[in-house]
Symmetry: C2
Subunit: 595 residues, 2 copies
């Protein structure tokens, strides 16, 4: 038993080389024990065991600075820097985050969750070190698909200009979340095949010194190679070939599924996640897309390294052929590609996690929306009730998209509305449309008005469904606007208020990007108060637009949402309650305005 | 005289090869005639004359699609596609934009102003072509420094996967706006030195076929090379060596100044721009920075290819040595670099045009602000009264920055306040601070309260100067909040209202990222109405926050700003007036609320 005795990297250095294999085995056992019941990034960490041990034996952290990217491969680093308890003691599994976190340890230097950042951040540390007059080593670890991100390129390209110590470890496990994409990965394969000798060398072409290590899962080999670059006086790339999932057969055999897994049988690797048969939004999306793609060869689904979010399993990707494109981790390119496809007469449908599309903000603004090209964007996992790591929050999508002229942002309240909006968006040719795929779970609203089928039931100003709000019920006291997946909260609040005799107009805005001026004027003229309800950030959100539009009428308005801030590993129910984002909270806010 | 007879590329193809030199001379003459009195991108277009002629002789636009990047090198393309009048007839100089513009011609396919986009957009056209079943050539032109942008890399990396026709012209003029930066450019130099034979080849390392043309200013050479790739069945890079400013000695000798120039003596190249001795904000910024940098070696100024915006001329950059960094066109890297420098104890000051920092939105959110590192960000040219090309608008900065938790965004109203805020921000260690450098020209406010010097004169809630608003005058009827460079408008309106007997509280908010709740509550409780005034986009802007905060009090609020939209080559005074962003407009809005 080694882990319980490791309080700091000094303890790792004190272990005789002959016992490091046993340490690696123990680390793998702890990883599999924890992740099989707790969930987390399995394959990326199993592959990095030996390299991480070597890093801590060669470098003197925290004097020397190790910057991990993507930081979901820091579990082993955490075990070796005083945080093994969070992997060996089930009662303490939640005491560390899944990413690098300076709040936990002096061995972590940045909160990092999005990919492709380590080289640039490490360049900054190295430049700062030089300005301040320090002399420590700065080590960036990058890999697991992140090289395809533009920021990683920008960092590597600039690194050559630094001219002082910087060690860039490229963890080449031949994978992204799914398989790798892009010409670069073909040339990494060539480097692997030639033991690093191929003249076709991306890193050298960027002006960087370069070393290759074939057996990245042999600790002594890696340690020897790293020892040679310690204290180096210029930037160098150390390209290390590792195996994603190394040492655990199920993860080696099924690299994509084990990139992140939630609950599995240790012995067989079989998933133990419940499959209750109710399709989630990924599956629902795939069903619509596959039918439409089959009928129309001009429709193409685009992913940036997260194909499963749209239900595209490996088999389905293969079946879709040229109508499915995974660009790898490259959101900027994905947005521009979609714009170009639309300009050429194709129909691109680009699905992504809302947190990652921040990378494409300028491309949405310029490459796509200035041009008005009809691309369909599907933003997943947006809601304060979805991912709760500080680097993966689902509360910034509305401020981001709503800053962009020309982008219609739809917020369906339920499954039926989502599916109809998706069909509608695929057919819409007037400009780009984004849909906020409900991020708080699948909700059903039988009988909701859905365009062609239910247009007559739809009231409100503006053009045809879905570009006009749905007035669900009418009352004279307060108008409550429940946006997207926050609608059920507004609906319950309305019912409670009605039961108390308060007249409520319940509105499903449908369009997150803003309401027609005359619609708000009408609401302001026929009520005593307005309450807006959204499960995203208040600042820049939907409610603020309503407050501005209602402002001149002097009606009382209360915007409910999440106050601007970085929230980490919070309890979603608690956070929602603290922001009055509960039926009781909404009802209380309404009554306060009416008092 | 050829130009007046060229209505379309067919006319270019009809010119005998022996006369193309005369055509090129005529094009250069027209460029210099126009740009010397009108302003525009001089060097980039002079260098592209022969390549553009060759493109239109080899390819059949608009069937074949030419996508230019950065599209400020499209002047010659415009001359050859029916728009020569805008370069030969002074009365029609303003009839074309400075960038590619589908609204002008079927030969332009995208509105493009930001760099590094053409490869991705062209990938999209090519993919769309394949889906639709067309067979035309798609040609991307990239160069003039744009290869350092992450989006260009993402596009090149993916291009290899396309597998069908795509021709990428790399216009290598050895320059960005200023000199090139990054290791990539060293390897381009190696390719130039070896006539394209060096094994160190960035494009091949990304899996792309590659050709080199040494004499990119010889039309026949370029034409012959392009003829060989026309109809090619896979992606290919054609690396063309051109000379920025070719054919005009002053532009060749002073490549940086002639990247864009406003008014110059054709014979000597001497600038005729008035120098009235009043320093602008670039010069003012440099004066503060150079003094602080001299006193503290930990301070470093960072630019992403626009060093002049902070006053860093070539001589000053040389003098600053390691305390000045130009990362090239690489905003993502610049933000992460700044975060790393701050984490290592340095003080980074990163200055940029507000329109370009959109590229760094995710890096601001994640690499910098989640980490709370004390970097200073200076955002220039933000205002509806600054750049008025649709791709370079200065109205999106407040929505962008205000979406980001943890970022303090200051909006000085005048020179005195800006300089004091810059000094303050350099010393501030609590987190990242951005400053909206006034984008509507230098304004002086004698006696404005400036922290240490004037703290006693400052009222309002919250912490010390400048994090608290300035109450300039007190009145009982309406509170007018004039943000940053819109303050003078609010001030004049207040004076006019006071003269009419309306009691005005005039507020300089100082902080664009939002006011203290209690401050807004106090305003709402002591006035009949509130008017906010900003010269940026309303949606996501400063005013909306005030409207939301004031909402529960039922006070009338009117937010004045620019409605969300893409505005192109507008008259700033007209646009401002149409949005009530004049003293009269603000006063009228206030009176309407009070009526």
């Amino acid at each position: 038993m080694y882990l319980e005795k490791i309080d700091s990297p000094a303890d790792v250095r004190a272990i005789p080389a002959s016992e490091l294999g046993a340490l690696a085995d123990e680390i793998r056992g702890a990883l599999i024990d924890k992740l099989s019941v707790h969930g987390g990034h399995v394959g990326p960490n199993l592959g990095m065991v030996e390299t991480t041990i070597a890093l801590h034996r060669v470098f003197d952290s925290p004097s020397d600075k190790l910057v991990f990217d993507v930081s979901h491969q820091t579990y082993v680093h955490k075990m070796l820097t005083g945080r093994a308890f969070a992997f060996t003691d089930p009662a303490r599994y939640d005491e560390v985050s899944g990413y690098s976190e300076p709040g936990e340890s002096v061995h972590d230097h940045f909160v990092i969750g999005h990919t492709s950042t380590s080289v640039s951040l490490a360049c900054g540390l190295a430049k700062g070190r030089d300005l301040v007059g320090d002399t420590y080593n700065v080590v960036a670890v990058i890999g697991d698909g992140s090289l395809s991100g533009g920021e990683a390129f920008e960092g590597l390209d600039w690194a050559a200009e630094l001219g002082t110590n910087l060690i860039i470890i490229v963890n080449d496990n031949e994978m992204s979340i799914a398989e790798n994409h892009g010409g670069l990965y073909a040339s990494l394969a060539e480097l692997r095949a030639t033991n690093g000798e191929s003249p076709n060398n991306y890193f050298r072409a960027l002006g960087l010194d370069y070393r290759y290590i074939e057996d990245g899962n042999d600790e002594q080999t890696v340690e020897a190679a790293l020892s040679k670059v310690r204290g180096i006086d210029h930037p160098v790339v150390v390209h290390i070939h590792t195996e994603k999932g190394h040492g655990y057969a199920p993860a080696v055999q099924n690299k994509e599924r084990f990139h992140w897994d939630g609950w599995f049988d240790k012995a067989t690797g079989e998933s133990l996640l419940p499959t209750d048969g109710e399709p989630d939004y990924s599956e629902l999306t795939y069903q619509v897309l596959s039918a439409r793609m089959e009928a129309d060869p001009r429709i193409v689904a685009i992913s940036s390294a997260t194909p499963i979010i749209m239900g595209f399993t490996p088999a389905r990707r293969a079946a879709a052929g040229k109508q499915f494109v995974d660009v790898g981790i490259a959101e900027e390119h994905a947005v521009a590609l979609a714009s170009g496809i639309a300009a050429a007469g194709g129909t691109p449908v680009y699905g992504f996690y809302g947190t990652f599309i921040q990378r494409g903000f300028d491309q949405l603004m310029q490459d796509l929306c200035v041009n008005g090209n009809p691309a369909v964007l599907l933003s997943f996992a947006d809601s304060a009730r979805n991912m709760n790591d500080v680097t993966h929050l689902g509360i910034f999508d509305i401020p981001e998209f709503n800053a962009i002229p020309g982008l219609t942002y739809l917020a369906p309240t339920c499954k039926q509305e989502y599916l109809a909006m998706l069909e509608w968006a695929i057919d819409y040719r007037e400009g780009p449309v984004a849909i906020r795929v409900p991020g708080a779970g699948v909700v059903s609203r039988e009988g909701v008005a859905l365009g062609k089928a239910g247009a007559a039931a739809t009231e409100g100003a503006g053009p045809a469904w879905p570009l006009t709000p749905e007035i669900v019920s009418r009352g004279a006291d307060v108008a409550i606007l429940g946006l997207g997946c926050a609608f059920p909260i507004a609906q319950e609040a309305a019912a409670a208020l009605e039961a108390e005799g308060v007249g409520v107009t319940l509105v499903n805005p449908r369009v997150a990007s803003g309401l027609d001026e005359t619609f708000v004027e009408e609401l302001a003229g026929s009520h005593k108060a307005i309450v807006t309800v959204e499960d995203g950030q208040l600042e820049g959100g939907f409610g603020e637009k309503v407050a501005r539009q209602a402002g001149p009428y002097g009606i009382r308005v209360r915007c409910l949402g999440i106050p601007r801030g970085y929230y980490d590993r919070y309890d979603p129910a608690e956070l929602m309650a603290s922001c009055s984002l509960t039926p009781e909270g909404v009802a209380a806010a309404a009554k306060e305005l009416l008092a």
